[in-house]
């Protein structure tokens, strides 16, 4: 028995250590590196890369945000909180955050409720169910930019099918400017967003509902509990852990929404549909405000981190 083997065994915790203890009696073949550090070798490359995208942007943004760099002017002098004060006064930033919140606050509940209703619809035996489910999943797996492009074609005021269908109901041609008119841009974005991601909710909730213990719901019905009572007292609590994660994943995606807005309206008309991600993109890559964008990036990371931490605690995901 070599020292390195003992090192590995003591490095392991409780159950693993006792389960692996038989293995520690085996001699390490000559010429093989001692495996005391084996567990660390395994994580080093991954952690290094994660730090590159996790920690580096955070620190670098923080440093740059205290300077006043633009793409044209390399002014490395310390600028104090100038950028953060400017951010605070930037009405366009707050509006973009508001737009993000509006889109999230409307799209997320609709996706959740429609997804849940759809899951209920397909929960019981329905011949051909697998075919329906396979077709319904299509929107969710295509690229968001392709989804946006597709709806751009659908929304075309003259050659798009949507205005044609609206025209059938209206009884006259309806050349609605979906991606331009201030009254229609939000419905257009929301329609595309909801179209793409409701199937995501549907799929996850269908699986969650299928796993609900049938004997519990049946017992509740025998005890005389109505449909809604059974749903809220038994079904909802048992699907909640899964539902919470689905909400979290979608909520975070919505908070960083970029692709479909870029494809449909690019933030327009004016800045009416500009979200936080779109605005940061404009500042950084069209107006070349390096330090200002860095401050904004830092603010967005801080806001989202706070949101995630709050959500994880609130939903009881931390265990």
């Amino acid at each position: 028995m070599t020292a390195s083997d003992r090192g590995t065994a003591s490095g392991m915790s409780e159950s693993t250590a006792s389960a692996m203890v038989g293995a520690s009696g085996v001699a390490t073949p000559a010429g093989v590196a001692p495996d005391r550090f084996f567990k660390y070798w395994l994580i080093v490359p991954a952690i290094f890369l994660l730090l590159l995208v996790g920690l580096f942007p955070l620190i670098y943004s923080l440093v740059v945000s205290f300077q006043s760099l633009t793409m044209l002017e390399m002014d490395y002098s310390f600028a104090g909180f100038t950028n953060y004060i400017a951010l605070f006064k930037d009405a366009r930033l707050w509006e973009s955050l508001l737009h993000t919140v509006i889109i999230t606050a409307i799209a997320l509940p609709i996706e959740l409720v429609v997804g849940l209703l759809m899951a209920q619809l397909f929960l019981e035996r329905l011949p051909g169910r697998q075919i329906f489910v396979s077709l319904l999943v299509l929107p969710t797996i295509i690229s968001p930019i392709v989804a946006g492009a597709t709806w751009r074609l659908l929304f075309d005021n003259r050659y798009g099918p949507i205005n044609q269908i609206v025209g059938w109901f209206a009884g006259e041609p309806m050349p609605l400017l979906w991606t331009i008119s201030p009254y229609l841009v939000y419905p257009a974005i929301l329609l595309c967003e909801i179209w793409q991601w409701t199937p995501f909710m549907f799929l996850i909730l269908l699986a969650a509902l299928s796993n609900v213990d049938k004997s519990l719901t049946e017992a509740a019905e025998i005890d005389g509990a109505g449909y809604w009572r059974t749903f809220f007292k038994i079904v909802l609590p048992s699907i909640w852990p899964v539902m919470a994660i689905a909400i979290l994943i979608r909520g975070l995606d919505l908070a960083r929404i970029f692709d479909i807005i870029y494809a449909l309206t690019a933030g327009g008309p004016g800045t009416m549909t500009e979200t936080a991600s779109i605005y940061a993109y404009v500042q950084g890559f069209q107006q070349f405000e390096t330090s200002y964008t860095a401050a904004m990036a830092f603010l967005i990371i801080a806001l989202l981190t706070a949101l995630v931490t709050w959500a994880i605690r609130r939903m009881g995901l931390a265990k």
């Binding site: 693993t16 999943v137 797996i141 690229s143 989804a147 991600s277």
Partner: protein
């Protein structure tokens, strides 16, 4: 028998609802596909042509002739290579987290929290870094970023699959004199084969579907199909056929990819919250 009739009516209504929903969710995809097969006259017909008279591939031929279809190849290389690297690094990391409890619960939570990082906030500092290194518009630059961005997902998913494995086989392999690397390679990897495959497909699809990173970090050399689609957006609708054909080229591989893993679909998109 009225009792028999009622379930029949209910079933018919459920079918009606299912069909309406399916039409709503499938029609846009259908529309995208048929535009790619339409002639310009059919695309710009008023009222719209609901189905093309004949299927023709001229719109695709243009993309291949002009070299625009190369962007699909770029996407394939970027997503493919980054997936392989992320799977390799992510799986061994997950193994370490599960078997040796490396870093404890905190490290695992930190890793998954990286998944929640907003891409726009990451890509800006990364862009500045890449400008400094001269990595903008290079394959390796984007591959590194895609790999790093995929890692939390891979680690999280593979952690779940490895947790499902029995310990006995690994133990007996160690007793038989295998090194730890051999155990990983000969015992663990084969046993999580299906999990590896499912996770790899999803990782590939996420990178394949990315737009923002490619938009910021490419210029001419490694433009992906998603960025290429937006190049046709101009003010006029002249490029409809190209938008549709390019989108379809980028969508077909994803359909195939996902069709191969129906069984793992829900586990994959719910990040392991539902074990199928």
């Amino acid at each position: 028998m009225p009792l028999m009739r009622r379930p029949g009516t209910v079933l018919a209504m459920r079918y009606a609802a299912a069909i309406v929903l399916t039409i709503f969710f499938v029609f846009p995809v259908y529309w995208l596909f048929i535009i790619s097969f339409k002639t310009p006259d059919e695309i710009f017909a008023f009222p719209p042509v609901w189905y093309p008279k004949s299927i023709q591939f001229a719109n695709y031929r243009v993309l291949f002739k002009d070299g625009d279809a190369e962007t699909v190849w770029n996407s394939l290389v970027l997503a493919g290579v980054s997936t392989v690297i992320a799977m390799a690094l992510g799986t061994i990391c997950a193994y370490s987290l599960v078997r040796f409890k490396t870093g404890g619960e905190n490290l695992a939570v930190w890793i998954i929290s990286q998944r929640m990082m907003p891409p726009i906030a990451i890509v800006f500092p990364i862009f500045l870094l890449y400008v400094f290194f001269g990595w903008v518009d290079s394959f390796h630059g984007l591959i590194i970023l895609y790999t790093a961005f995929s890692l939390p997902y891979v680690i999280w998913m593979m952690r779940g699959y490895i947790e499902d494995l029995p310990l006995e086989l690994e133990e007996s392999a160690l007793v038989d004199g295998c090194t730890r690397w051999e155990v990983l390679w000969k015992v663990v990897f084969p046993m999580v084969r299906s999990g590896l495959f499912a996770t790899a497909v999803f990782t590939f699809v996420f990178a394949w579907n990315d737009f923002l990173f490619a938009l910021v970090l490419t210029r001419t050399e490694v433009v992906t199909y998603t960025v290429q689609v937006t190049h046709y957006f101009g003010g006029q609708s002249n490029f409809w056929a190209k938008i549709a054909a390019m989108s379809v080229l980028g969508t077909i591989p994803v359909f195939f990819a996902v069709a191969t893993l129906q069984r793992y679909l829900v586990r994959g998109i719910s990040m392991g919250a539902v074990k199928g």
